[in-house]
Symmetry: D2
Subunit: 348 residues, 4 copies
């Protein structure tokens, strides 16, 4: 059985394990103050063209999100997010547990629009008793989004401009950043990120690492004392060098984007073949997550051979599901899946 | 340079890396619901002789502590800890960030005494306005303690009895549990733990794993919904099987205690040799942490060759330091250190 | 100018001030442990026919809500509320500041329906990764609702039954409880409340007191240590007797409901006259809050003489507003308002 | 029986009730945006000679403390306080419930010393792993202290200078501010406060009001959005004008200080008479709280006629107690008490 339920079902890319084996018995300083973290941080600063950025490594995505958001907001502020935002739906109230409301906006392919952000902020201050409402204090986005969508350079620029005009820091959760930067035809590149975001995360877990995310703090005002907050929230690994080492391996040459591009290619060729077979999708996607709407009987026929996530019941006979292609999937596996899905649908 | 600053400076025991390499590319379910976690949990239940215990795995020690404590306490309650307790001193306010006060008691070799716990609880309820004080709600201990001390079976039984009489859940942080259970001559064993504690943690990070701690929930009332809280606090690893797999490797046969016993042997022979040379210690210890009081000039002579932690200035000429022997240290390294320290002191 | 913006614009009913003047210089124990609080609590227990209920007094409504909710929920749980619920919209994130998400449901005249509660709970447990979502932990309702609606005895019974079946404590915010119990024709009475709710609040501020709310804890499991949490959240007044004394005065005989009934009568006769004049309403209401939809020009003509709250822009020419009739309004004032509003509309 | 247990056992000074009666039925805007609050704030700004200060009114002292502290601190910071500080001992963990540790220092008559503050800050940054400790983020003091002590102008200036040098905001809890400013011989005046403190509170509850404290925000950086946080923490009274009105009455002319001076005079003449009779005190005090150490048999003889607080058991025969003289006590009552205490001691 090949599982397409998520992109975190395997371990790490071989380059990660090789580097780990090489350094395993060498002594490294704890808590991220080691040479691996220093080198990985330097590599990130080089990639993004921002020598003054602060780079931290934490153990997971929820950690990254709750640490960044609680570091930025004052007590009366909330974080704006799409309804589908990971912090809104998938983190068991991690943000609220730090004292802050998630202020939700409608999503387009998982994206937040500048218009909706502006409207929410205006509605807030237009209210006669605005001090009785949670104040919008920052914007959270994910790129790739939870719906497989991405921000084009133009879209991210427009959102960033609006945030700056409104005084709202912009944080981009990049748990699947590689898939976005490797999207075919995108103009968005590493060097745009520090220009457009105040803080962003570069995902490891879903991009070839065993675990771990890099947090890049660009905004000068948000740098101070960040490590205290990582420690307090439980995100500071004793053997922090494990995190640095993994990013060293993944960011060597163009590996990070190549792994993602390969997954995107498999996913989009799967998509194209299904579309050619007349299958519709819940939402368009050029990245490694695909959301076809399939007949329940076809799903039933496929279920012993493949795994996927159920997203939404469409009607009594059809369900929207997600097939997620990890960096570890091969062309052969993708072709087999494509063939089997199309066959199952045609067999109805 | 050999660094004795801590026991988390190396990677993992070779058995861990071998098992990881073997399973790296196999797909495993996420979030701890995989076969590795199931097997490691079964092995723990078998070791402790408690088939009904719940076992969870989290990424680190601060995670384990803040998750357990916030899961147990009601909002108005605090956690009793020794002044030297990890939660009191070393976690950047992680417990307070979940809303709870740490109520500190004096320590003896890092231990909390039943008498002090009882006195604190009595003082609380004796106060006419006790509802204006934080209510003692549970007891936190570490074993091995932060001072290298351990609880004998008798001491832990007495504390446990007192806690039960007072209605206080007892949580034992076992970040260095192996060193305590492997202490020469101790009567405390794996099977005592579920009888005496409501919840306890089994450390991985300082005991041969890359990272990770196991949380064992024995008390029936504390089992419900525990996974939600792990998720909320950011301790639920996407690739949770990495944690289970490491404990599988470490708990195979008697490996966990053998690794610890080896470190204890090196540490206590170092201690004995220093004592024979007339060097005194801040606090007695039979485990892998040793706290000699050394002349600053001797330390100066040693500092290019060895690393250690500074614990406390004793006077203008002497400092209490900590040498921490990890599972990865060899007899040869320990002998060399011993010889050099004794020589440095004699050379004064 | 007569302000109908809210029902908390005046001070207290004369009986409150009289009792205060009488006792002002007598010494009373602090923090709610005085004879006034004892008598007021006894009176409440008598009214509701529940001798075993615990009664506490706090300084305000947000205090009452955040104290009750944080006392009931475990960290991973959220509170279900209508979108219009006071805790969802009007308390500046007070609930989130205690660590809990507000889980919103659609409202009908401000009410939550049993069907929606059940559907939310089912959707939660139907999700494969339900532990990644905030667990529904209790239900918050207000009665009278923020939209002037009330729960009939049948509606409240149905909701209560559903909550019990689902294991969800039910908390009723009674900031405007009097207006609900005094609604013409309602079958809901004081003695129904402890049978149907686990905890409920009896409002003072909007019902004739200077300030203060009574919290009635019926559920045995929620009684323990409640005073600690009141103290911790800042709701425990040093001169707590001020709160007890006010409820003593207001709950004497049938005063509490009579004051509310008078306000309801004025409000509903205003409503009837406007309806007779062809004016429509945003939402039906039999209580002291009325939500007519008025032409902006009419509002402009009225604005120097009367105050009201703007609720919602309906279209370019019409706005839904709220006229709130306090216990302190007279028939004469209400008649004048009615006449002026009808005239303003007719003059268009 | 005359109760000297505290200074909040009576209602309000007659001027407060008179003003309340006069305005009770007039309509006032809610939430502190009324004319009474505006006038009281102006009066405070005039008294302290600081026209740019922001003034807010909240319902009680714990409210004031938790609101100010949570508004100032970032998540990883704690508040420095004397061990006897109200926030450390008497607020049921209110500060921790907002996520922050109270960092305690030894007290001298309840005061914090500049030397101790400096030493704590230095110890923090001297630690190699300082990011694992809670960062000292501000200083909390009370004046009058919980031990009846006060800060002289020189002491407060020295502490303020140290705080500014160290970058620590200084917050003064003035629940008993009047007694400090009215201390015989003190050089500290209203106009010193905004020069030396970043934020301070002016107490109402213990100084002649029914309830309520004024918060004065001097530091420009702490002014922004303060009302949101008051609302969120439940301290924003719907009928906020009740708070403004009380301060209007109390701050008329020199009433606030005269009421306090009268209480101080009664207390210090009581003290002098006891000292003349050979009775010793736990701690010196020139203000309305006195802490004699009395024979338990004498206390037993007095207990039907007077109330007091037990502070500390001194030995098997003696106890330190507190007699607290409110603004409402008369010369006659104080004389009677003095006479009876001295007689009880002499009768032994």
């Amino acid at each position: 059985m090949i599982d397409f339920r998520s992109d975190y079902l395997e371990g790490a890319h071989e380059s990660v394990l090789a580097l780990l084996a090489q350094h395993n018995m060498r002594q490294s300083l704890g808590y991220g103050e080691d040479a691996h973290c220093a080198r990985a941080a330097d590599r990130i600063r080089q990639l993004i063209g921002c020598p003054e950025a602060d780079v931290h490594f934490v153990s997971g995505g929820t950690q990254a999100n709750l640490t960044v958001i609680s570091a930025i907001l004052r007590p009366h502020q909330g974080v704006i997010s799409a309804t589908t935002g990971h912090i809104s739906e998938h983190e068991a109230g991690a943000i609220e547990a730090t004292g802050h409301k998630v202020l939700v906006l409608p999503e387009q392919e998982g994206r937040v629009s500048p218009q909706d952000v502006r409207a929410m902020v205006q509605a807030h201050y237009d209210d006669a008793s605005f001090e009785h409402w949670v104040q919008p204090g920052m914007v959270y986005i994910s790129n790739t989004t939870e719906r497989g969508g991405t921000y084009s350079k133009q879209q991210l620029t427009a959102l960033s401009d609006t945030c700056r005009e409104l005084g709202l820091p912009l944080y981009m959760d990049g748990a699947r950043l590689g898939y976005a930067l490797a999207e075919e035809g995108t103009e968005l590149t590493w060097t745009d990120l520090p220009k457009l975001c105040d803080v962003f995360a570069i995902g490891g877990t879903k991009q070839g690492a065993l675990f771990g995310e890099a947090i890049v703090v660009v905004n000068e005002q948000m740098k101070k004392d960040f490590r205290y907050i990582i420690k307090q929230k439980g995100g500071m690994l004793a053997k922090g060098w494990l995190l640095g080492l993994q990013f060293e391996a993944l960011l060597e040459g163009n590996r990070y984007l190549e792994l993602a591009a390969q997954a995107n290619r498999l996913a989009t060729s799967f998509r194209d073949a299904l579309q050619a077979a007349g299958i519709t999708f819940l939402t368009p996607s050029n990245t490694n997550q695909q959301f076809p709407i399939l007949d329940n009987k076809a799903l039933d026929a496929l279920k012993d051979k493949y795994g996927w996530s159920t997203i939404k019941k469409i009607n009594d006979t059809h369900t929207a599901v997600r097939f997620c292609f990890s960096w570890a999937r091969t062309q052969e596996e993708a072709d087999q899946l494509t063939q089997d899905v199309v066959a199952a649908v045609k067999a109805l």
